[in-house]
């Protein structure tokens, strides 16, 4: 269960394991999996619960496969995120 103010979801099957997101994460929260995806690449994943939703990983990701979420500023809950 995450406690951080941000979160990312990576489409790991399309990841090519270039590691640029891992380098780019200012929180050092990402890592390269020891598992491989359907294309044979080790894939990046969020390893530490310290995401701030800064979008750096998504911006540098060549494959454009990282969705970035950030906590709403107001505390009132809106409708669920439709993209899930």
């Amino acid at each position: 269960m995450t406690k951080s103010s941000g979160h990312i979801i990576i489409n790991i099957q399309k990841c090519k394991g270039c590691e640029l997101c891992i380098i780019e994460c200012p929180q050092n929260g990402m890592a390269l999996s020891s598992n491989i995806n359907q294309n044979g690449y080790h894939y990046a994943y969020l390893a530490e619960d310290i995401c701030t939703g800064c979008t750096n990983c998504a911006l540098i990701c060549p494959e454009a496969i990282i969705k970035v979420y950030r906590k709403k500023k107001s505390k009132i809950l809106k409708q669920p995120v439709s993209t899930l």
């Binding site: 269960m1 995450t2 951080s4 941000g6 979160h7 979801i9 990576i10 489409n11 790991i12 099957q13 399309k14 090519k16 394991g17 270039c18 590691e19 640029l20 380098i23 780019e24 929260g29 890592a31 999996s33 598992n35 690449y41 894939y43 994943y45 969020l46 390893a47 530490e48 619960d49 995401c51 939703g53 800064c54 979008t55 750096n56 990983c57 998504a58 911006l59 540098i60 990701c61 060549p62 494959e63 454009a64 496969i65 990282i66 969705k67 970035v68 979420y69 950030r70 906590k71 709403k72 809950l77 809106k78 409708q79 669920p80 995120v81 993209t83 899930l84």
Partner: protein, 268 residues
């Protein structure tokens, strides 16, 4: 979209805002570029900009020959694929026939600065109202890593096995600086996509150029993006970006070379 089963999970995503996602104008097709290639980011950035400006219905892109020959597989807009070196001539033909459309060309260094030098210079010289994207990674990636006109001194490529020697091969061509001197260019900048901040700056330059064209600006907006080629340079993606920062940017300095003129209202 499959979701990672590994690492941190979040059970209250519905309490969060989706703040970044792949743009709709960038198709779901898996990119053919090598891992870590800057082309992927640049392909996406131009589509992000087109989407944000809401001009996907009036934008026509021209794809080159080279690694981004398949750019039209990823860009969900009308596109033409030009012969090697001729993207700016093709873009000229489109823009002249449809002056109210937004037109951009996308070329690499071999395409724009070697075989297409004449078309490049003269498109700028005519002051065509288009955006020219110039991806400079100092190598012919698609054909297997040969020396290009922008390859730096000493660089080992498949056609300069002992490193580029100025006596034999001549000097790296800084075509962007030449273009900045020409009255037909409106905005000339050199950017990169090697970090998230660089990506933000490059997108800003694209947005600025497209807006200028939408406002009926006069002249070419020219964005050089100094980028990597991990496969061609025989480096990991991370190493290639470090190489950019430690070596290449010393020669190809980043930043605006020619500022965008302020449009007078009567010109619009």
């Amino acid at each position: 979209m499959s979701i990672s089963q590994e690492g941190i999970h979040c059970n209250y995503l519905n309490e969060m805002d989706l703040v970044w996602d792949r743009p709709d104008t960038f198709t779901d097709t898996t990119l053919h570029y090598c891992p870590g290639c800057g082309h992927s980011v640049i392909n996406r950035l131009i589509m992000e900009s087109v989407q944000e400006l809401n001009i996907e219905e009036k934008t026509i892109g021209v794809a080159p020959v080279g690694c981004s020959v398949f750019a039209y597989h990823y860009m969900f807009i009308d596109m033409q694929e030009a012969a090697h070196g001729r993207a700016s001539a093709v873009a000229t033909g489109i823009k002249r026939i449809l002056p109210d459309r937004i037109v951009f060309s996308y070329q690499g260094d071999g395409d724009l600065a070697a075989i297409g030098t004449a078309e490049t210079i003269h498109t700028v010289n005519r002051g065509e109202n288009i955006l020219m994207l110039f991806i400079n990674n100092g190598i012919y990636g698609m054909t297997g890593g040969q020396m290009s006109p922008t390859t730096l001194k000493g660089s080992i490529t498949s056609t300069s096995p002992d490193g580029r020697d100025y006596n034999q091969h001549g000097y790296p061509l800084d075509i962007t600086k030449i273009i900045a001197q020409m009255p037909g260019s409106a905005y000339v900048t050199r950017q990169s996509v090697d970090s998230a901040n660089a990506v933000r700056k490059t997108k800003k330059a694209m947005m600025k150029s497209l807006k200028y064209q939408m406002d009926g600006g006069r002249g070419v907006c020219f964005i050089e993006i100094v980028s990597n080629c991990p496969s061609g340079w025989k480096m990991t993606p991370t190493e290639s970006n470090e190489w950019l920062r430690n070596e290449i940017f010393n020669h190809y300095e980043l930043g605006d070379i020619k500022q965008l003129p302020k449009l007078k209202t009567n010109e619009i």
